[in-house]
């Protein structure tokens, strides 16, 4: 498949001139942060753009022009020549049909039960009963396998996989990626993998294209790109990606936020956020030029290697012996499901303790119990001070920046209200709080809708700190943020220096944040200890699986 000069526009320009080629037998990665236009590119390549969006340019498959083709032509191509696997395994399957029916209806030629079972076995489902189950009876990983079997049922030459593992657990994610790679090799098909995760793309792909604000800014083999990025944006992304191998003294994000394609159509898309930008960058749009065969960049300059900052930011934390949290034998069940099966842990003053585990491990229930949002069935929770009310001792930063702030209140009103819940002495003002999290004081008058995801998460941190809590719980605080923003927020959390219970599924993030680590699986602590020791030499089989499923750092 060859995509050239692809432009997609709705009410504004979204994708601005994408050129990309995928041959059979190769895996190409298309990497970009949210809003870069990568998913729409995939949709356009299968003729499935949502209503109201138009594509111009050219999409050819084996030399045949498809863009602008009639639906009948597309239908003859889809499934048999090119197929699309989407992100959300919970939404992709028809809730009213069984797993087997999904595969059977997509088959061409033989449609008997034996063939369906063979196809399911190909994606690693050996239990023949699965064919008769409905999607709601299957786990996320199983659904994604069924979807993959259905997508490949008509033996397409090209599979476009749009964030196929983003909604899955780390270990499942790894299994599905390995499965896609195995199938790609066995069938000799082409794969276009669309992902926001550089590490995933680097691990799996023969060639990687980096997308930014609706265009491709760099393309090349992953090994070379990791070693010497040819575009400052790639370099910035690489610097911002946390690694599981060591604790970086300082996390560096990219300043500013992503522009829309329309805003930057006549300039270098990255110029406004680039440290190397010159006046030329803002005057004309740099073409995607060839550095050497297979290596393309849209930057006019030679990229300076990033100076590694080896001395850290000021870390104010000092670990002392007294405890701010001790949890003993915490149990909580929902019906027959055991969310917490007797969990014990403690956090010392000034210490940052990481809690890791997959979905269903009970890590969020643990946080909610400590916060008092859920009443445990048994077990005790002791906080720093038995006299002060709970809300002055422990506060939380929640995951989703889009809902973490009340859309009806201004930032200032939110912070004032929160601070009023704290001790009466030395109450913090909104201005002080905003300054603390590195936001302009003028933001107090804004409503959350006027803030970016990273800025909202900063306000949420300010709100949590406003009562001067002894313990800050962070429940996946950066899981919904783009990599370039994530680093800023993590660095901020390091700087504020409160004792922390840091909950995450991401081992690379927890390596950067936690002194000590607790690994949860199915509501039980399976391993705990010094972060470096646990991650470098995991003792429990589950921890080993978790560590093994982290994509290698670029």
């Amino acid at each position: 498949m060859r995509i050239s000069e692809l432009r997609i526009s709705g009410s504004g320009l979204i994708v601005d001139g994408v050129d990309l080629e995928v041959s059979s037998g190769e895996t190409v990665g298309l990497v970009g942060e949210s809003g870069s236009g990568k998913s729409l590119t995939a949709r356009a390549a299968t003729g499935l753009l949502p209503k109201g969006l138009r594509a111009t340019g050219s999409v050819t498959l084996d030399g045949r022009e498809l863009l602008g083709a009639r639906e009948r032509v597309w239908r003859s191509v889809r499934g048999t020549r090119v197929s699309l696997l989407m992100q959300d395994p919970f939404a992709m399957l028809n809730p009213l049909r069984t797993a087997g029916a999904h595969v059977a209806e997509s088959l061409r030629g033989r449609r008997d039960r034996a063939e369906v079972l063979r196809r399911l076995a190909e994606v690693g489902i050996d239990d023949p009963d699965v064919a008769g189950r409905h999607p709601f009876q299957l786990s996320g990983g199983m659904r994604q396998r069924v979807a993959l079997a259905a997508a490949l049922a008509a033996d397409p030459g090209l599979l476009i996989a749009d964030e196929p593992t983003t909604a899955l657990d780390a270990t499942t994610q790894h299994e599905i990626l390995m499965l896609i790679r195995g199938l790609q090799r066995a069938r000799g098909m082409g794969v276009l993998l669309i992902t926001h995760d550089l590490r995933v793309a680097f691990e799996l792909c023969d060639r990687v294209a980096v997308m930014y604000a609706g265009r491709i800014v760099e393309q090349g083999p992953p090994a070379e790109m990791a070693k010497a990025p040819a575009h400052p944006y790639t370099a910035g992304l690489l610097a911002a990606v946390p690694t599981v191998e060591r604790r970086l003294p300082r996390l560096i994000g990219i300043r500013g936020s992503v522009p829309s394609a329309a805003q930057v159509s006549a300039t270098c898309a990255f110029a406004a956020r680039c440290d190397q930008a010159t006046s030329e960058c803002a005057h004309a749009r740099p073409p995607l030029r060839e550095l050497r065969p297979e290596r393309l960049t849209a930057c006019l300059h030679e990229v300076r290697p990033r100076t590694r900052v080896e001395e850290g930011g000021q870390e104010r934390r000092q670990v002392t012996g007294d405890e701010v949290l001790r949890v003993t034998g915490l149990r909580r069940t929902y019906g027959s499901h055991v969310a917490l099966g007797g969990v014990s842990l403690h956090v010392n003053r000034g210490e940052s303790v990481g809690v890791v585990g997959g979905s269903g491990s009970g890590k969020t229930t643990l946080a909610r119990c400590v916060l008092g949002l859920v009443r445990p069935d048994s077990g005790t929770i002791e906080l720093a001070d038995p006299v002060r009310p709970r809300h002055q001792l422990v506060q939380c930063v929640f995951q989703d920046p889009s809902t973490s702030l009340n859309p009806a209140l201004t930032v200032g009103a939110t912070l004032t209200e929160a601070a009023a819940q704290g001790p009466a002495k030395d109450r913090l003002t909104p201005a002080e709080l905003l300054e603390l999290v590195g936001l302009p004081v003028a933001y107090a008058r804004r409503r959350p809708a006027g803030l970016s995801g990273g800025e909202r998460q900063r306000v949420a941190i300010a709100r949590a700190l406003s009562v001067r809590p002894a313990l800050l719980i962070c429940d996946e605080p950066v899981a919904s943020l783009d990599v370039s923003v994530q680093a800023h927020v993590l660095e901020l959390l390091r700087e504020v220096g409160t004792s922390m219970l840091f909950i995450t599924h991401d081992l690379a993030v927890v390596r950067q944040m936690a002194d000590r680590l607790v690994v949860l699986a199915r509501g039980e602590v399976v391993e705990s200890g010094d972060t470096a020791e646990v991650l470098d030499a995991p003792a429990h089989a589950y921890t080993r699986r978790l560590v093994a499923s982290v994509p290698a750092a670029p």
Binding site: R75, S83, L84, M86, D88, A91, L96
Partner: protein, 314 residues
């Protein structure tokens, strides 16, 4: 299990409705004797006769049980105004109302479903805006006001339709019932249009529909086993609402067009304090609504494997 639970709820509801209905007799002004006497002279002898005939001296639960027993056997007593058995009175009036309701139902489906789909397909376009506006208007016009406007426009001013009556021959009846059926169907069709449009739009945004197309499934399969089956569920939920609109609406429409159906019967019975007839009609209407809602619940269990699974395990 869930099926049993729903059956129990339906029976409970019918029970409450019947107590309330029976309570009407006691709550009516002047008390039960006065009501049951109707227009007859009130002398100590007639009063005693009534008390004996209706066992009015028994305690309320006993009276209620006796009444309920009779009602279950299809005996609702005699109408006070016409002195005929209530069941006969109702059977006389049923054909007109049934014809009207059936006619309106056909119109509702024939107009509502395609209009809703068309609006969803042309989302945001002129056609969609027009259909959405029309459905909002149809939803807010009271059926009696619409009846009068139709009656004046098409029957009096243009003279295309008869002004009065329900017609005798089947063809004649169809002509007579056309305007009333339109007046009755308007609000229901609007409900169907809105629900259909919302269901179709919701469906169009679903990943599984895109994924079905991405696998190159034939168009008919995408339509039948993906779009229609999934859209049927939300539309099914308004079935109960439609029926309620139909029952209430027919009272007004029959009154406005001078049709002698059950709705008109209810109003005249209420006016004449003909309590046995009112009781039978309320119980009849209530039972229909409750039964249809039960059927819709059961249909849900049949169509949706998630509900079926819950029903099996709960």
């Amino acid at each position: 299990m869930a099926v049993v639970k729903r059956l129990c709820a339906a029976v409970l509801l019918l029970g409450i409705l019947s107590v309330l209905t029976y309570g009407l007799l006691a709550a009516a002004p002047g008390g039960p004797e006065q009501v049951l006497l109707g227009g007859r002279p009130s002398t100590p002898e007639t009063r005693a006769a009534i008390r004996a005939q209706y066992h009015l001296d028994d305690p309320f639960p006993v009276r209620y049980a006796r009444w309920l027993g009779d009602a279950l056997r299809g005996d609702f007593g005699t109408s006070i105004s016409s002195r005929e058995p209530v069941t006969t009175v109702i059977a006389d009036r049923l054909p007109v109302t049934a014809g009207l309701a059936g006619y309106a139902l056909v119109l509702t489906v024939v107009v509502g479903v395609p209009a809703g789909l068309a609006a969803a397909m042309r989302r945001g376009g002129r056609l969609d805006q027009g259909i959405t506006l029309a459905s909002l208007v149809a939803l807010s016009i009271p059926s009696f006001a619409l009846s009068i406007l139709l009656l004046y426009g098409f029957a009096v001013a243009l003279g295309w339709f008869p002004v009065f009556g329900a017609g005798d021959t089947p063809m004649d009846r169809l002509v007579h019932l056309t305007l009333p059926a339109i007046a009755l169907a308007a609000a229901q069709a609007a409900i169907v249009v809105r629900q259909m449009r919302a269901a179709a739009l919701d469906l169009a945004a679903q990943d599984f529909l895109t994924f079905a197309r991405a696998r190159g499934l034939p168009r008919w399969r995408v339509w039948v086993s993906y779009a229609l089956r999934n859209a049927a569920l939300p539309v099914l939920t308004v079935g109960g609402l439609l029926l309620a609109a139909n029952l209430t609406g027919s009272v007004f429409v029959e009154q406005a067009f001078g049709l002698h159906g059950l709705g008109a019967l209810l109003i005249s019975a209420v006016g004449e304090k003909d309590i046995p007839v009112v009781q039978a009609l309320v119980l009849f209407g209530g039972a229909i609504v409750i039964l249809v809602n039960l059927l819709i619940d059961l249909a849900y269990v049949a169509v949706d494997p998630r509900v079926r699974h819950k029903a099996a395990t709960a």
